[in-house]
């Protein structure tokens, strides 16, 4: 087991190295003039060095003065020590910007994931137990519609309905105008209120695939021989479904839940941008648009780490949860 994990970790690191290299190469090839702009600004300040000197200094700081591979290696050397440099767009250290914005995204992710689970699992089970019934078709079509629904369309509809027509929800942002005058409890409520629509959006967009996943796996278990045996024994349908079939459905379910845990940190880029929420997704969207190499590099490598971590957790959980699976 440990040997397997170790092997996977080593492979992941190798993959990460190459992913980082591809991202770095792409970032370096971009026609961005951000460094030139900063150098020009700095050289404008009184008693400052000349433009060329600033440019050289900045290029050296960001390792832009050497080739792509040496540049990447020096970036990597610092990244391993968790030195990601200063963000160009936010002019603060990358890690500081990151830690300021990650928690909002994480909270949104956790809350919406929780709601997805408590909606998807019961509905998936109902659809599977009543296969080909009207209920099943309705649930399947709703699930598919959720998958097919473009985030921006659903968000716009919600905004039109709740923010414009009914005027009960804020249009965008995280805090109200009078946020500073509120008591700390009201401040919390205010933020929570602003997060309602984004979380509803996230849940509706992603609940469909989870629902289908539950349904598919539940059906597989319901068609298994042991279910027939259980029914032949004369067990109640309730017991057959929840005691026998559902427990086995939990195996892939727990695997996929475990695998998506790291993804809770990745931020919902589109949703956050639509609602102008200062989560990590929106923050990095702005940085990426501005051609902020240090921040974008960090964010993309961070996402790659989360993906690898998710896969690793899913594989390990699969073996832990299901005693029939032995990995070597």
């Amino acid at each position: 087991m440990w040997k397997y994990i170790l092997k996977r970790v080593v492979i992941s690191i190798v993959i990460l190295f190459f992913v980082g290299f591809i991202i770095y190469t792409m970032m370096r090839l971009l026609p961005t003039s951000y460094v030139e702009n900063i150098a020009r600004q700095k050289s404008m300040q009184p008693n400052s060095k000349s433009y060329e000197e600033w440019l050289d200094q900045l290029n050296e700081t960001y390792h832009l003065d050497r080739g792509i591979l040496p540049g990447y290696l020096s970036w990597l050397g610092e990244a391993v020590q968790l030195k990601f440099g200063d963000s160009w767009f936010y002019t603060d250290p990358v890690l500081q910007v990151f830690s300021e914005h990650i928690w909002l995204s994480f909270i949104m992710g956790v809350v919406s994931f929780f709601f997805e689970l408590i909606i998807a699992i019961p509905l998936g089970i109902i659809a599977a137990t009543r296969q080909y019934s009207k209920t099943d078709y309705t649930i399947s079509v709703i699930a598919l519609a959720g998958i097919s629904l473009p985030t921006f369309f659903f968000a716009s509809l919600l905004k039109l309905l709740f923010s414009v027509r009914l005027n009960v929800m804020p249009l965008f942002g995280l805090i109200s105008k009078d946020y500073n005058q509120m008591t700390s409890f009201n401040q919390f409520l205010d933020k929570a209120w602003h997060l309602v629509l984004p979380i509803v959006t996230l849940v509706v967009i992603s609940v469909g695939s989870l629902m289908r996943f539950v349904r598919t796996n539940m059906l597989e278990e319901l068609n298994a021989d042991y279910v027939r045996t259980a029914r032949a024994k004369g067990l109640s349908e309730r017991k057959v479904i929840y005691h026998h079939a559902f427990r086995n459905t939990l195996i892939p379910l727990v695997t996929i839940i475990g695998g998506s845990l790291p993804g809770l940190f990745s931020g919902a880029l589109i949703t956050e941008t639509l609602y102008a929420l200062p989560g990590i997704g929106y923050t990095s969207f702005q940085a990426m648009i501005a051609g902020d190499i240090p921040f974008s590099m960090f964010y993309m490598v961070f996402l790659a780490v989360l993906t690898l971590l998710g896969n690793l957790i899913a594989d390990i959980l699969y073996a832990v949860v299901d005693p029939r699976v032995r990995i070597s």
Partner: protein
């Protein structure tokens, strides 16, 4: 008779023995799949939606009376404050030399005039006020004219140069005493009955009780306009029409745009310059203090027919460029569908080649390709696309080339999943007997992979492709929505919806974004339904 025929038919059927093959209707595997597919009501719904979308996008564009990049215009009646007219009833003051007649002296002079005094002093200097006429007083100090107080205003005809004191003084002197000529400096001037001051035949200045000021800084009002306007005012008219070729007006619609933070709204089209319209109607409004008139210009301007509501000529209204929405939707559908298909073709081609090689050869080749797949799986595609989109923005890539790049990038980022699927299938197929047979027959490796293995992967591949078509269309739409995908002048459903970032559009113009969004949703849903139906049809054992 009819019954007889039926009976004969029945007899013929019964002639076949029980195990005769002809009694059984034989269906090819393809027909079986089709039969199962068409029995699935959801899948058929999806298919009909898709057929509709294709007809709508590809044939609709041909039928539509408008073209993709046709702008529409409308005449709009604009009513805006144009000028203000004041009848001058207060004395104005002018000093002979700069500084010779300060504002304090000014006030004293005003006091003296209103009290009818002829002398006043200020700071040990004595001034005398000499009335020339009811509306013209001269202020003298030590017998020298230092300033004048007047009511009729002298202005230069060109409007720009300032007139000298001497000129003004002499002109006013002549005007108030009803003389028709005066001289200033070395030149002599004549005054005509309308108050124009002529040097020879050239009008250089004019005298009038009314002050006309343009409300807009970039408009210079001509003398002719002012004169006719004043005549109209004096006649007590409330409306006045004037024709002038030299009037330059620029139309601009003041619309406050409220945008959410970082989303790009592309607006590459220049605001149309309002067509010059020489004849305009002006409304004259007298304001409350009776000495002022506000002149409103009522002008018909010819401009883009933006955001017009659905009507008979434009069934779904027009968008922010003044283009027909329905036509844009058709062409947008074309772009969205074509991009979807090309991207999926690129993905599939790459996926089949890589997956096929990997699965067939195994060993280190397999290992290498699978690690490559892992790497591509790991690359965060949305941020990547956003960065590349922003970079193309910065490099000002031509919209057509940009679309090609977009397809290549999407295709290149998406092949990993298909490669994994193909490899998995091939790994299991490779062990089956028919592959041993191909090997025994000495069929070449290329043929074995592409003629015998790949066709067996086809069912799963088709299902996967149909599903990913929907995904690609959503990705493209999202990118275009963010302003980083397909760009103007090309329409795509995503960039049509982009306008909803403008809160004003979100609130007031449903026809801008709802139709495009519904089309997009239906198309993606239809692809997913068809994909689902195909999966069930191809593999009835897997039906769930």
């Amino acid at each position: 008779m009819k019954k007889q025929v039926e009976n004969e038919k029945k007899d013929r059927n019964e002639q076949y023995s029980l195990n005769d093959d002809r009694r059984v209707k034989v269906l090819s595997p393809g027909q079986l799949v089709a039969k199962r597919f068409f029995r699935n009501r959801l899948a058929v719904t999806g298919l009909s939606i898709l057929v509709f979308m294709f007809v709508f996008s590809f044939i609709g564009g041909l039928i539509s009376p408008y073209s993709q990049d046709q702008f529409f215009y409308r005449n709009e009646l604009l009513n805006r404050e144009f000028a203000a007219v004041t009848e001058n009833k207060e004395f104005r003051y002018m000093e002979a030399e700069k500084g010779s007649f300060g504002s304090a002296v000014n006030a004293q002079a005003f006091l003296a005039i209103s009290q009818g005094r002829t002398e006043f002093s200020y700071k040990d200097v004595n001034y005398t006020v000499e009335p020339q006429h009811d509306d013209l007083y001269t202020i003298l100090s030590d017998g020298k004219v230092v300033g004048i107080a007047y009511k009729d205003v002298v202005r230069s005809s060109s409007g720009s140069e300032s007139l000298s004191f001497d000129f003004t003084y002499n002109a006013l002197l002549a005007y108030t005493s009803n003389q028709t000529s005066f001289s200033s400096g070395d030149k002599s001037y004549t005054i005509d009955e309308t108050g124009g001051i002529l040097e020879g035949n050239q009008e250089v200045a004019y005298i009038s009780r009314f002050v006309v000021e343009a409300k807009m800084p970039d408009i210079a009002l001509s003398r002719d306009f002012k004169e006719k306007l004043i005549v109209a005012i004096q006649n007590g008219e409330t409306e006045f029409t004037y024709t002038d070729e030299s009037l330059i007006l620029d139309e601009e619609e003041g619309q406050t745009e409220d945008e959410t933070g970082g989303i790009h709204t592309d607006d590459p089209v220049e605001e149309p310059e309002g067509e010059k319209n020489a004849t305009a109607t002006y409304l004259i409004e007298r304001s409350q203090n009776q000495d002022n008139w506000i002149i409103r210009q009522e002008q018909v301007s010819y401009q883009y027919d933006k955001y017009s509501f659905p009507s008979k000529t434009h069934l779904l209204g027009t968008d922010k460029y003044g283009m027909d929405m329905l036509t844009r939707l058709m062409y947008g559908g074309r772009v969205s569908l074509v991009i979807g298909f090309i991207v999926v073709i690129i993905e599939t081609a790459l996926g089949i080649i890589m997956g096929g090689i990997s699965g067939y050869f195994g060993g280190w080749v397999d290992n290498l390709i699978m690690r490559l797949v892992d790497i591509f799986y790991c690359i965060p595609s949305t941020p990547m696309l956003i960065i590349l989109g922003a970079a193309m923005d910065a490099a000002r890539v031509d919209p057509m080339i940009r679309m090609v790049y977009l397809m290549l990038i999407l295709g290149f980022l998406g092949w990993a999943g298909i490669a994994r699927l193909v490899r998995g299938q091939i790994l299991s197929l490779r062990e089956q007997e028919f592959m041993t047979a191909t090997e025994a027959c000495g069929i070449s490796v290329r043929h074995r992979i592409f003629k015998h293995l790949i066709p067996n992967v086809m069912p799963q591949l088709i299902v996967q492709c149909t599903m990913s078509l929907g995904g690609v269309i959503i990705t493209e739409a999202t990118l275009s929505f963010l302003g980083l995908g397909v760009k103007f002048p090309f329409a795509s459903w995503g960039n049509i919806i982009n306008d909803v970032n403008n809160t004003f559009v979100l609130t007031n113009y449903w026809f801008i974004w709802i139709p495009a969004s519904v089309l997009l949703l239906l198309t993606v849903l239809a692809f997913n339904l068809v994909g689902d139906g195909l999966r069930d049809a191809f593999d009835p054992k897997m039906k769930r």
